[in-house]
């Protein structure tokens, strides 16, 4: 994550935002019954909290005062009952709240993930993966804190405070008023404290972000730091931020150190007032001892929620900020949409046409200029040209990873913008130079987890891709796990595996970006054989690097600087003596040297084009 992103992550807004809250609540709607149960138990819990001291009062004033031993036994039993009741109620309440929250967060996570799945590739060019990960995982976790740390219990806290006040007033309103006299001051002080605590929290998050960014920069740039002997300077710089962080934390501790004792003080003061005033009234027999005992317990319970007010407030604030970022992501509409009424051809033949296509990733930097060509059903066309010529863009556009800015691409005579994206792609088999393997076993890497592909089809695909003998020799065969995303496999094996993938999906149109890396002669022969299988009965558009592929192609399109330079068959182009002829001459020369006695193209995988470095 870059420094700017770090700071973006740390921006905190309001702790409560009605608009955001309403949207968060929408995710809870499917679980409204559970939520109702949770709420009911929250109220029951409040009642059980109020009940304990009241029973104590009854026990003292009614049974002890009237010397009723049997009654005392019963009321003690009732008290125990309330304790048990409180246990069950609290458990059910925590569990249902957390359960509801987890369900809702799961739904939210899936929604974010699904949203990302359907974004066009331009979106992923613009947004770093790390940031998207943070949205899907960390921000949802932060939002979930609302439920798991019981911030939802904030409602319960309010209920308890008011419930206690009401009960106290009901029991003895004069005594209650004396005890509650300090409460408005507490409320005022806590607002003051909360504001301070919020500022400090914000600042600490900001500095922590800077600290993390600095740390990351130092780790990533350690070679440069060492080569320029900058360790001391970097240490000083880190030390500075670190000190800053410490000071902010110390400030928050100072606020806590003032606030909590004040709460204690007022709590003690309230008890003091209670004893002074209550004692006087007890002497004049105006009230009974039980009321005082109950009041002491009520006061204790009343101050508890105030203590963790600040922490809950911070969690609320972080959760709101996360929610805001998540919703911003979800509100990003995709640019490449499926048409409302996609057109489907009756019979898919596999014809591709580019009509005057212009495209650029950034304005004023055209990548493709007026590209027009046509690939007939079953035809094999090779794209040749130096790096940056625009070959990869051509295949990306055909897959509709991006939309053209001008002109049109037609598959089977239908503009690809009128196709259903997924439907179109099911007809296209994309094999990239850089083979991406997923964690999972070999079978999954061939099917990509598509349950519609049968075991026989996997075997058949692997056999035709010439990778079957190798996979079958593995201890667990097709169920062997691919280690570290295939980094332990050779380049050749990875390529064959990606061929098997394409064969398993059996596309009508094959889009192949040939690998440039050299492989040994034996593997090369396997690749050639697999390639023949792959090309059979398919329309193919190939970014060709191997001479044999070029020679066997029905047509060669030479792309240079985003334009079609030359077009024709191998021999025609050679005869013309243009760009292609120059590239070929170079190629032929090196192959001649590598394999002087015949069939040079079979044995070499040196690149045609694409190797400027």
């Amino acid at each position: 994550m870059s420094q700017e992103e770090h700071q973006e992550e740390e921006i905190l807004g309001k702790a409560y935002d009605a608009r955001l809250m309403a949207r968060i609540l929408r995710y809870l709607r499917p679980y409204s019954k559970l939520l109702a149960i949770s709420f009911a138990f929250l109220m029951l819990q409040t009642v059980s909290q109020l009940l304990g001291p009241y029973i104590t009062k009854i026990a003292i004033d009614r049974y002890i005062a009237q010397r009723d031993v049997h009654g005392l036994d019963l009321i003690a039993l009732a008290y125990l009952g309330v304790v048990g009741f409180g246990f069950i109620v609290l458990f059910v309440q925590t569990y249902t709240t957390e359960y509801t929250g987890q369900r809702a967060m799961h739904d939210l996570r899936v929604e974010i993930f699904s949203h990302l799945q359907n974004q066009d590739l331009g979106y992923f060019d613009r947004n770093a993966i790390g940031r998207l990960m943070t949205r899907t995982i960390n921000d949802v976790e932060t939002l979930n804190e609302l439920f798991s740390t019981g911030v939802v219990g904030l409602l319960g806290d309010v209920a308890i405070v008011f419930g206690i006040a009401a009960t106290m007033l009901w029991l003895d309103w004069k005594l209650a008023l004396v005890c509650l006299a300090a409460f408005p001051i507490i409320v005022y002080l806590s607002r003051f404290y909360r504001r301070r605590a919020r500022d400090v929290y914000r600042e600490s998050r900001l500095i922590l972000g800077r600290l993390n960014a600095g740390l990351q920069e130092n780790i990533a740039g350690v070679a440069t730091i060492q080569a320029f002997a900058q360790e001391a300077k970097m240490y000083r710089r880190f030390q500075e931020v670190n000190l800053n962080y410490r000071n902010v934390l110390l400030r928050s501790i100072r606020y806590n150190a003032v606030f909590f004792p004040i709460i204690e003080l007022f709590s003690a003061l309230s008890v003091g007032l209670l004893l002074w005033y209550g004692g006087q009234r007890m002497l004049s027999s105006a009230i009974e001892a039980g009321v005082i005992v109950a009041f002491i317990q009520y006061i204790q319970r009343m101050y508890q929620p105030i203590r963790d007010l600040a922490e809950k407030y911070n969690i609320m604030q972080a959760a709101m900020a996360s929610a805001e970022r998540i919703f911003a992501l979800l509100d990003n509409r995709k640019t490449i949409k499926n048409p409302a009424r996609p057109i489907r051809p009756e019979h898919f033949s596999g014809e591709v046409e580019f009509r005057d296509v212009c495209f650029s990733y950034r304005p004023d930097e055209p990548v493709l200029k007026n590209i027009t060509f046509r690939v007939r059903s079953g035809e094999k066309v090779a794209l040749v040209g130096p790096t940056g010529a625009g070959k990869t863009s051509i295949i990306s556009l055909l897959c509709r990873f991006y939309d053209v800015q001008q002109g049109a691409i037609l598959v089977d005579g239908i503009d690809i913008r009128d196709w259903n994206k997924q439907e179109l792609r099911r007809h296209l088999g994309l094999v990239l130079q850089d083979v991406f393997l997923f964690s999972g076993d070999f079978a999954t890497n061939i099917t990509l987890g598509d349950p519609h592909i049968s075991a026989e089809r996997i075997l058949d695909a692997a056999r035709r891709a010439q990778i079957a003998p190798w996979i079958e020799r593995l201890p667990e065969g097709y169920h062997q796990e691919v280690q570290e995303r295939g980094s332990t496999l050779s380049q050749g094996q990875r390529q064959l595996l990606s061929f098997a993938r394409a064969l398993a999906f059996d596309p009508k149109i094959l889009i192949l970006d040939e690998a440039t890396s050299s492989v040994d002669t034996r593997t090369e022969a396997l690749i050639q054989k697999a390639l023949d299988e792959l090309l059979e009965n398919r329309t193919a558009l190939i970014i060709a690097h191997r001479l044999s592929t070029v020679k066997n192609a029905d047509r060669i399109i030479v792309v240079h600087n985003g334009e079609i330079w030359e077009e024709g068959q191998h021999t025609e182009l050679l005869a013309r003596g243009g760009l292609y002829a120059r590239l070929y001459e170079l190629q032929y020369h090196s192959q001649d040297r590598l394999a002087p006695n015949g069939e040079p193209e079979e044995k070499s995988s040196a690149a045609l084009g694409d190797q400027t470095d």
Partner: protein, 474 residues
């Protein structure tokens, strides 16, 4: 990263709030209990009878909660790993229209995670109320037994009320014990992970004693003798028996394919990795014996992987030197051809570039890094594929400007482009960690070996590019 910040946080909680809560709890516990005992030892005994259970409960739940939180963390990591993999391979996912399958799999893992969290929630959901039950039971005992004692006349009503008050005060410390126990578990786990980081031995680069306190100016003669090196013992050597002598002030070119060991050689010269003893010498001194900071002052280094720090361009260029005035800054920027670019920025040299220089193009970053190296005025210059992001023409141009600067300095130029190496006093061709050809440009061409092949290949590419440009302008 996560180790450092999150673990330090956990340890801080333990040392700060954890220990404070413990002391607080202990004080309240001791005072309340002793007061309760003075009032009524018998009642104290009975009401506290269940208390020894607390450590047992805390221990049990602490262990289980710890276990489940680890499992939950693991499941969360699995979820992250899945998303990372999916997003990295999104092109394949979309190309094969696998979005729905991926969403299904994500749902399954997310559900698994939800399940684990619910277990954790259940444990917490029992643990906290259980602590309240403990307190509640004690209160019941006092209510009942105490009440009976009052009825029997062995305790006054006043004592009874006071006893109740003390008991209420005990509830909080008991909770605190539970809370702290949990913190303690997390804190110690974090502490042991931190210890792992801190116990990693310091690189010999900083640990070794410098034997050589030579203060004479470095001339810059590099000598490499029988250097064989591998990054770890179980790997095949990256460099095999390299012998190379670069006289002070001369220009040496290194060419070779990716992975042939060129950058490893540069890393060793800079001691970013530890070379074996007595293999690399500058002015006849083993670089491992050079005084701290002397090697860094000697070598100006530009790598292919440019790292720019968050800060101004000026700060980035002046990274390795203390005394860079504006004149030197401009001169360095002019040689590396970055000056015109900098002048187009509103705040010139003070322009702040993002982390890793996000607002500069690849070529601009490389030029900035080059300026950073030459402003140090080093006797030795190592350019490790420093121009890979600029085109051949620009590289030529920069080198032409640089030639003046290179005069009298030892230069090691690692490059893919033969055209940049043409003027070198000697060129070595590395393949699989071995020197397979060496000589001047003309000598190597005459050998008609690997160097010659590379030359021819690049000449044609160059020609093709030239054709393209010419036809593009027609």
């Amino acid at each position: 990263m996560s180790r450092l910040t999150n673990d330090i946080h956990a340890v801080r909680e333990l040392m700060g709030f954890g220990s404070l809560a413990m002391v607080d709890a202990a004080v309240v516990l001791v005072f309340s209990l002793s007061l309760m005992i003075t009032i009524n030892p018998r009642l104290t005994f009975w009401s506290m009878l269940a208390m020894p259970l607390i450590p047992v409960v805390v221990r049990f739940f602490g262990r289980e909660i710890f276990r489940f939180s680890r499992e939950t963390q693991e499941q969360l990591s699995a979820l992250s790993a899945f998303v990372l993999e999916n997003l990295s391979g999104i092109r394949v996912v979309q190309a094969y229209a696998q979005e729905q399958n991926q969403i299904r799999r994500f749902e399954a893992i997310s559900s698994g995670y939800r399940g684990k969290t619910m277990w954790l929630a259940t444990l917490w959901g029992i643990f906290w109320p259980l602590m309240q039950v403990m307190a509640g039971v004690a209160a019941t005992v006092v209510l009942w037994l105490g009440g009976r004692q009052v009825l029997q006349g062995t305790m006054t009503l006043g004592e009874y009320v006071a006893f109740n008050g003390y008991l209420a005060m005990l509830t909080w410390p008991l909770m605190a014990i539970g809370y702290t126990a949990n913190q303690y578990q997390r804190g110690t786990a974090a502490l042991s992970r931190l210890a792992e980081v801190l116990d990693t031995p310091i690189s010999p680069r900083y640990a070794s004693l410098s034997a050589d306190n030579d203060a004479r100016p470095v001339r810059g003669a590099i000598e490499i003798r029988a250097l064989t090196f591998s990054y770890s013992n179980d790997q095949s050597p990256e460099l095999k028996n390299i012998n190379l002598s670069i006289p002070a002030g001369s220009f040496c070119g290194i060419v070779g394919e990716t992975g042939s060991g060129k950058s490893t050689l540069a890393n060793l010269l800079l001691r970013l990795y530890e070379p074996p003893d007595d293999t690399i010498f500058i002015d006849g001194v083993d670089i491992k014996r050079m005084a701290r900071g002397r090697l860094e002052k000697t070598i100006g280094y530009v790598s292919q992987d440019i790292f720019l720090f968050f800060g101004s361009i000026k700060d980035n260029i002046l990274l390795g030197t203390e005394n860079g005035d504006n004149g030197a800054l401009e001169a360095a920027a002019r040689v590396t051809q970055i000056l015109p670019t900098i002048q187009t920025f509103g705040s010139g040299f003070e322009t702040v570039i993002g982390e890793r220089g996000v607002r500069l193009s690849g070529g601009q970053k490389q030029r900035t890094a080059l300026a950073r190296a030459i402003i140090k005025d080093p006797p030795v210059l190592i350019l490790d594929d420093a121009f890979s992001s600029v085109d051949a023409e620009t590289e030529e141009e920069i080198l032409r400007e640089l030639r003046q600067f290179m005069r009298g300095r030892t230069t090691l130029l690692i490059s893919h482009r033969i055209s940049s190496e043409r003027h070198a006093d000697q060129i070595i061709y590395l393949k699989n960690g071995e020197v397979i050809e060496r000589g001047t440009h003309d000598e190597l061409l005459a050998q008609r070996g690997a160097y010659y092949e590379l030359y021819r290949y690049q000449a044609v590419i160059h020609e093709v590019e030239a054709i393209g440009r010419a036809e593009g302008h027609r």
